[in-house]
């Protein structure tokens, strides 16, 4: 299993004005995200259970949310660099 993204590094250099640099230690949010994830998953399990009881065909919200969380974990390593000659944006997820 992958570790969640630990650091978000965002640099924006506008054509005129001060460059903006955000270094966000995402690892500090891990405990909060874990608690939130558990809460949301508990809610979706309940929702899916109700949907099954009601006979609905689509009752996959738990898997949907779990996969969405997995996609968030896989963000680690993503790099986006955009430079239009005036403004430069550099975002790295580590």
């Amino acid at each position: 299993m992958n570790l969640p993204p630990a650091i978000l590094d965002l640099k924006i250099a506008p054509p005129d004005g001060r460059p903006f640099h955000l270094w966000l230690p995402l690892f500090l949010l891990w405990p909060l995200a874990l608690a939130l994830g558990v809460f949301v998953l508990a809610l979706t399990i309940l929702t899916d259970f109700v949907l099954i009881v009601l006979g609905q065909r689509y009752h996959h919200y738990t898997i949907l949310v779990a996969r969405a969380l997995a996609a968030l974990l896989d963000l680690r390593g993503m790099v986006v660099r955009i430079n239009d000659g005036k403004t430069a944006v550099d975002m790295t997820v580590q």
């Binding site: 949907l64 997995a70 993503m78 955009i82 239009d84 000659g85």
Partner: protein, 145 residues
């Protein structure tokens, strides 16, 4: 350190290649080393070198004639997760997505994307390479490494 590896690092230090290019070359070197070391009659024991040799990132580079540059590095694991997520979107939302895509000229029906096809799709992606050189000088490169 191998001779090839030190040559790549020297080229990087001399500014002949960019850090991205050096990374690609080093990855390719690692992949070649792993392939050579695993060229035995059968795969036995630890398969880690083989797994390490697989591309891990999808690169999208756009170099426009007017100087605009876009450089995106996407983990292949994220592509896989995204595709798996797509196959689970509720039908009502999927219809809206398909309609919206169709309005923008992309008639892709994501509801046809089955979870069992995703692994094959991602595997095929690993060998994909797209090079576009337009007449006005714009260049688009999509590859995995």
């Amino acid at each position: 350190m191998s001779e090839d590896r030190s040559r790549i690092l020297n080229m990087l230090a001399e500014g002949k290649i960019t850090a991205e290019e050096a990374e690609r070359l080093l990855d390719a070197l690692d992949a070649r080393g792993a392939a050579n070391s695993s060229a035995g009659p059968a795969i036995k024991g630890d398969a880690t070198p083989l797994i390490a040799a697989l591309p891990k990132f999808l690169y999208v580079k756009v170099m426009a004639e007017n100087g605009d540059n876009v450089d995106v590095k996407i983990p292949i694991a994220l592509v896989r997760s995204g595709l798996k997520l797509t196959s689970l979107i509720p039908p009502q939302a999927m219809d809206q997505i398909n309609d919206s895509m169709s309005e923008h000229g992309m008639s892709v029906d994501f509801s046809n994307l089955k979870p069992e096809d995703i692994d094959d799709l991602v595997e095929a992606l690993r060998e994909m390479e797209v090079n576009v050189d337009s007449a006005n000088g714009d260049k688009v490169r999509v590859y995995t490494a």
